[in-house]
């Protein structure tokens, strides 16, 4: 019951935005809602980690994987709410966002979080599909919020491509249910992931294979796998930065979660994971290499972060295609990517608030004018490209070790991709931080102060670099592997 009660909190917070008109009060109530929901959902997740899976009725199920996703959503929700108080408040003061738009923002933010929480908490494929599509519907107005500089174009591509992808995935879900009906399940139960897992041995393998193809292409569009990714850099770079952090840091993981839940049924029905692993490893590799080359010539730092998401979703997918050790690495990577990417988008928001530009070429000498934000950007990017001791270093090490045994050629290709990425990223980063402003450039802004956003980023970076040490230890690896076992089936 605590789970369902906690899910009501974002709904109430959204309704609150209809009533409240004061921008500061809206910000404070958003923070309060995220904190209250975190208390409830944290208790649910803690209970699951301590005692095992929890069922609420027929439709809701929380296991260790769900609990991890809930924790990641809550981390980003609290962080985004705190960062929004400053970010949205300043944009409102500057006249960039009207009070009406601020209310839309605070009305949709909790609904977006609710949609993600429902996606990961339900065991019913129909509810999962509806909630996943709801994540698109609740975030499209946020992508279009500024109504300029390509925001409408980004929103259109985002809505059309993701809705099409999710529609294709519905065909996959229907085929899975068809296989369930064929195995003797009544139509209501044929949409239950638990029931499908129980009857997996009697599902028609051919139907299940077709179902997975549609699911992979459909949900893979939402995850941002190449070549279904074109909406991602546009949408993630055009939203207010706290929403970019949530879209990039956690929504992609949530979509991947949906795919992994279905994959477990498919692997059980086929009695092996090699077939689905091929999809993950292949599309993962393609995404890594494509993003690595695109990152070399980026001119917009928010877009650069968005392409990083394509690369990292590729890395996670690659890990998922490398057996149980790779899957444990993928779990670590999900955590590391959420922390690093949300910290970087929050920091990018600070840069945007200060310099009013997203063009890399227009930013010079940031280290001198904004040392705190610069340090956050530096550490965030170093963590993201896998510098020890970040969680991403541990995860990449883990699934590269798995890949070296399972598919050495693929491991080598990933290493090439991972070697190319820092060239582009560090070149752009150093250009922003350390290059000198041209003579006659406008005088620098007032000195930077330590803000609430910096505090959020500092906590996330501490977790990113501290967590890496934990995951390099045996208990850390075992913990990640225990979560991976919730969504993997290996003979």
């Amino acid at each position: 019951m605590l789970l369902l009660a906690s899910l009501l909190v974002p709904l109430l917070a959204s309704l609150g935005a209809v009533v409240v008109r004061d921008v500061r009060a809206l910000g404070r109530s958003a923070v309060a809602a995220s904190a209250v929901a975190t208390l409830g959902l944290g208790a649910v997740a803690g209970s699951v980690f301590a005692r095992g899976p929890m069922w609420v009725g027929d439709y809701w199920m929380v296991d260790r994987f769900t609990a991890l996703m809930i924790v990641l959503i809550q981390v980003v929700w609290v962080g985004a709410s705190l960062a929004s108080v400053r970010y949205i408040g300043l944009e409102h003061e500057a006249g960039i966002l009207s009070t009406r738009k601020v209310r839309i923002y605070y009305g949709l933010l909790p609904l977006f979080m609710l949609a993600m929480l429902v996606t990961v908490s339900t065991d019913h494929l129909g509810i999962l599909w509806i909630a996943l599509e709801a994540t698109t519907l609740t975030t499209t107005p946020l992508v279009a919020l500024y109504k300029k500089d390509g925001a409408i174009e980004a929103a259109w591509k985002y809505l059309l491509l993701c809705s099409l992808g999710i529609s294709v995935s519905l065909l996959g879900l229907l085929l899975l249910a068809y296989a369930g009906v064929g195995a003797g399940l009544p139509i209501d139960r044929a949409f239950s992931l638990g029931a499908l897992r129980e009857h997996a041995a009697t599902l028609d393998p051919q139907v299940v294979r077709w179902a997975f193809v549609f699911l992979f292409v459909g949900i893979g569009t939402k995850v941002g796998f190449v070549p279904m990714h074109p909406w991602l850099p546009d949408a993630h770079s055009r939203t207010p930065s706290p929403i970019s952090a949530a879209l990039s840091g956690v929504l992609l993981n949530v979509a991947l979660y949906a795919l992994l839940r279905a994959r477990a049924v498919v692997d059980l029905a086929l009695g092996q994971d090699d077939w689905t692993s091929g999809f993950f490893a292949g599309f993962g590799l393609l995404s890594i290499l494509f993003a690595a080359f695109v990152l070399l010539h980026q001119r917009n730092y928010k877009r650069m972060l968005a392409y990083h998401s394509v690369e990292h979703m590729g890395l996670i997918a690659f890990g998922l295609g490398m057996g149980p050790v790779g899957a444990a690495g993928a779990v670590m990577h999900m955590i590391g990517h959420t922390l690093a990417k949300s910290a970087l988008f929050f920091s990018a928001g600070e840069v945007l608030l200060r310099l009013h530009t997203t063009k890399i070429a227009n930013i010079k000498g940031l280290w001198r004018s904004a040392p705190r934000t610069s340090l956050a950007l530096m550490l965030g990017f170093l963590g993201l490209i896998g510098m020890p001791t970040s969680i991403i270093f541990s995860s990449e090490l883990t699934f590269l070790m798995a890949a070296a045994r399972r598919s050495p050629g693929a491991a080598l290709a990933v290493i090439v991709g991972l070697a190319i990425v820092p060239i582009g990223v560090l070149h752009h980063l150093f250009s922003m931080l350390f290059s000198r402003a041209p003579a006659g450039a406008p005088s620098p802004e007032p000195p930077e102060s330590f803000t609430l956003t910096h505090a959020v980023v500092a906590v996330e970076l501490a977790l990113l670099f501290g967590g890496g040490v934990f995951f390099l230890s045996t208990p850390g690896f075992e913990w990640a592997a225990s979560i991976a076992r919730a969504f993997t089936v290996y003979p």
Binding site: T136, W156, H297
Partner: protein, 226 residues
Amino acid sequence: MTTDMVSLEGVCAGCMLLTAFFSMGRKRLPTLLRHYALSSACLAGLIVTHAVRTSHPAEYAGAVATILVKVVVIPLAILATAHRCGESLRLKPITRPVVSYALAVAAVVGAYLMSRRLPLEIGPTSPVGHIIPLWSLVFVALALIFLGFLMLIIRRDLFSQIIGFLTVENGISAFAVVALGGVPFLMEMGIFAVIGGGVLLMAVLSQQVHSLYRSHDTAILSDLID
């Protein structure tokens, strides 16, 4: 009775396919919307005939919702948006009608080949007990999906893209009816809600595109390229 219903089911499915097929060469928005509305009405007919044949009266609600949302509300909402923008109702395909129809034939053939490869059981052994071959109805559903995708590719105006998306969605709805005999009621209503919400957002965005660029041509949406 059962044989009549099966025949009607086939007629509805065939009519859905034909209306979607012939919309491929149409250039005027009202005509395109009429085709879509007719195709959706046939989908409602498919649901009703299936409900009668299988004695599942709960499915009538799905048929009523289909008529209300897809035959009435969505076409009227799109037309109202177009009128509000004051733009010409003549749309801009990037291919000539002959080429569009040729591509549509290729899409239908592709759907046929795919439907024969899909391992869905045929005849009385099918889980939902069809009398006519299940693959033939699945073929119609897949053809609608393929035609919808084709419309998204060969049209470069926002309204055609919305209709292309809706055609894909109609194909998936048809698949749910013919392969599964529909989906649980609450799930169906949820799907209607998110599809309706999506189309509403698309209509709002198309209006915003028009107010920014004074056009619905998707070729102008090219600021965000690498």
